[in-house]
Subunit: 149 residues, 2 copies
């Protein structure tokens, strides 16, 4: 295995977990800045050509994990790998953000959903999408249907 290290820090509007939009229909259009450490800045070369990025980050204010637990969306228990719960065996978060612009080592992005000061592990280009008609969203879709009734 490897030893995770931060390549940078996320600056976001959220200082507490409860401020982050959650649940059905939650919109993530908050803007933020990913400040990449100077020693990793060369790794950003050409990144401005991509409209969207995957960002991998650390749930650094989450402790321990739970294999089976209830989530706010529907109050039902689900397996942790069927949810985006922060309490995971490896506390890694994954978010797709829109890249608005780059200023040297600072990436201005839209769609942040992590706390201010979150350590960033990796950035990758988002290259293709699964066609919506091929996507099944399991218990999330069921919870949405129940919520509409």
């Amino acid at each position: 295995m490897f030893s995770p290290r931060a390549i940078g820090i996320a600056h976001t509007p959220y200082t507490q977990t409860k401020e982050i939009p959650k649940g059905l229909g939650a919109k993530h259009d908050a803007e933020g800045v990913f400040e990449i450490l100077p020693e990793f800045e060369a790794g950003l070369t050409d990144i401005e050509g991509f409209s969207h990025l995957f960002v991998l980050w650390v749930f650094d204010r989450s402790e321990g994990f739970e294999l089976f637990g209830t989530v706010p969306i529907d109050g039902q228990p689900h397996g942790v790998f069927s949810t985006r719960s922060p309490r995971r065996p490896n506390p890694i978060g994954l978010t797709v953000v829109e890249l608005l612009r780059r200023e040297a080592g600072r990436l201005h992005v839209r769609g942040v959903d992590m706390l201010d000061g979150t350590p960033i592990l990796d950035l990758k280009p988002y290259l293709s999408s699964i066609p919506p008609e091929k996507l099944r969203r399991g218990w999330i879709a069921e919870a949405e249907t129940r919520a509409k009734k």
Copy 2:
């Protein structure tokens, strides 16, 4: 920071890196099995309702990293965060797979692009896609255009 631990192992058709389809137009429709360790199996509850999953895994046979390097697709140098190179500061791979079926702790999936025996770190449901018309794919799109000429 945290200490990464494997939640399972990927069984794939690839025993050497050179066997994995790469480059423009590479198709990843190979099938494989994610064998989740018994102590994490409860975390899979409800996962069979999702058609696609994000899988986070470790480039465990890659050493060191390179911030700026050439990739096979176009032979041009690009920053590591603009590529899917295995030689990253945090050697974490990310793949979207189609979930074909679950047999207890074994997930049969399509779209594997990691070596046989790769340690799996996390699974997350794939919930939504970026509409193709909103996606810009930077140097990848440019390399494709050049390749067609």
